[in-house]
């Protein structure tokens, strides 16, 4: 059995393999988009390496965190679509 981390994405509980980044967790949970752009377009990750900021989400209430560079932690609360 893979080692899983329990966390929430927009309030929905998900279990994600330990060692995954938050960006990977959101995609694994079935969403391609992580945020809305200033004109309202849906956006997903682009660079995958912390440069483009398209993957930014709120984590435990802290906004603008690059989800591609942060590993999932037990109990983490992720908010996407902001």
């Amino acid at each position: 059995m893979p080692d899983l981390v329990q966390m929430t994405i927009n309030g929905v509980a998900v279990r994600i393999p330990r060692g995954s980044t938050v960006a990977a967790a959101v995609l694994l949970a079935g969403s391609s988009a992580l945020r809305r752009s200033v004109s309202g377009e849906l956006r997903g990750p682009l660079c995958g390496m912390g440069v483009c900021f398209e993957c930014r989400v709120a984590i435990d209430g802290r906004r603008h965190v690059r989800s591609c560079q942060l590993l999932c932690r037990e109990g983490m609360e992720v908010t996407i679509g902001g």
């Binding site: 956006r43 990750p45 390496m49 440069v51």
Partner: protein, 424 residues
């Protein structure tokens, strides 16, 4: 105030160049730290490998650095200099001051992205970008992937995604067969490169590789459904789950520029010992010009020996570096961008994804500075890292501009920076 730590040598960037530099400096008994914004060492090419090295080469370097008392500061992003020989960095836990006697910049490269209609749709991702996500836990098994753009990274990404179970529909390389052939002839002079290329070819057996072919549009409503490709006079539609698309690499020179190092034609200028135009600041790997893994390792070692004063050890690597730089120059020629790519974006195609500025509005201005001030192009969180290289290609503008902080940081971090700069 955050904490302060002092080192003989601070290496910024924990990819191959940074690891090699840190090893050589630490083996000379210097106190060395490596700071990197990713969760672990490896940079992009070795991302996710400390736990399970993908090659004997990466395993060798990981073992070498692990045996040394090198201080690894991961998940931490350098954002500004404060005073002489001190950099401020931010992590999830707060800020810290990193002081050094010598600095080695090994800040790597990023993908070049070019705008075309639909490129902002979710699931249009960089080629290296999708590879990085796959290494970070994204499951690509059974997904249909079109790999497009230019450069050797397309093959490496496609091979990696295929290993992960993706179905690679095709690889569209914008360079012509004629240019690729000239590049391949150069490969023959570099046995290790040739071996890598043949191994990739084997892993990609059965996958169509089309030269002189590029994406003209991505289609879909809330996410990507299909890609329109062009080759010669022919245009056709390929349904897919992901478009993995990147147009070779751009050196990350921002921190070097901020420290006053001379940057010429997008590359950090260095001397024979990898020292920049600023004393005691060295630079190794992709920021000095895109050259790939082997050149990064060699430049890293030269920089590491040089900061330790082991100049003969550094000199011993000059010939190897020269050969690899020749190969890099061939790569630049082989994968030069064709002019047709300038016609891909339409007036309403977004160029700046942070501020949603379309090409038509950017074109109304006569310079990068004017466009920034009047349209906010390049003024969002990525600070132009994505759109500036695109605008440089599309409009031929000089897009060099950098100011602190080199990455957006929390207000608390700026306050801490101001506090440590003010005389106490």
């Amino acid at each position: 105030m955050g904490e302060r730590a002092e080192f003989d040598v601070l290496v910024v960037g924990g990819g191959p160049a940074g690891i090699a530099a840190a090893c050589c400096a630490a083996e000379a008994k210097l106190r060395v730290a490596v700071v990197d914004d990713n969760p672990a060492l490896g940079g992009q090419i070795w991302r996710g490998e400390p736990a399970s090295p993908g090659t004997s080469q990466s395993a060798t370097w990981y073992q070498r650095v692990a045996r040394l008392p090198v201080h690894i500061i991961a998940g931490t992003r350098v954002f500004a200099p404060v005073g002489p020989r001190t950099l401020m960095a931010e992590s999830e836990d707060g800020v810290c001051e990193l002081a050094f006697r010598k600095l080695i910049l090994a800040t790597g490269a990023r993908e070049r992205f070019l705008p075309f209609p639909g490129w902002t749709l979710p699931n249009v991702i960089g080629a290296g970008g999708l590879q990085a996500l796959a290494r970070s836990g994204v499951n690509v098994r059974g997904k249909k992937v079109v790999v497009a753009g230019t450069g050797p990274l397309l093959l490496a990404a496609a091979a990696h995604l295929r290993q992960g179970g993706a179905e690679i529909c095709l690889i569209a390389e914008q360079a012509s067969w004629r240019r690729l052939l000239a590049f391949s002839v150069g490969l023959a002079r570099h046995p290790s490169k040739l071996k890598d290329a043949l191994a990739l070819r084997r892993e990609l057996a059965g996958v169509p590789y089309l030269a002189g072919c590029w994406p003209v549009a991505a289609q879909g409503k809330e996410k990507l459904d299909s890609v329109i490709l062009r080759r010669g006079a022919k245009t056709w539609n390929v349904p897919c789950d992901y478009l993995a698309c990147g147009f070779h690499l751009v050196p990350n020179t921002e921190l070097a520029a901020l420290l006053g190092c001379r940057v010429e034609q997008g590359r950090v200028r260095v001397d024979d010992f990898q020292q920049t135009t600023v004393a005691d600041v060295y630079c190794a790997g992709e920021p000095t010009g895109i050259g790939g893994l082997e050149l990064s390792l060699v430049e890293g070692q030269i920089a590491g020996h040089a900061v330790a004063g082991h100049l003969d050890a550094a000199r011993g690597l000059f010939a190897k570096r020269k050969g690899l730089r020749r190969f890099a120059a061939g790569m630049d020629r082989g994968f030069a961008l064709r002019h047709e790519l300038r016609n891909l974006p339409q007036p309403d195609t977004l160029v700046c994804r942070c501020e949603d500025v379309p090409l038509g509005r950017v074109r109304e201005h006569s310079s990068w500075r004017a466009a920034k001030l009047l349209t906010r192009c390049g003024m969002g969180p990525c600070q132009g890292r994505v759109c500036a290289p695109a605008v440089e290609f599309l409009l031929g503008w000089n897009v060099e501009s950098v100011r602190p902080p080199v990455f957006p940081v929390r207000v608390e971090s700026l306050i801490a920076t101001a506090a440590s700069q003010s005389p106490s």
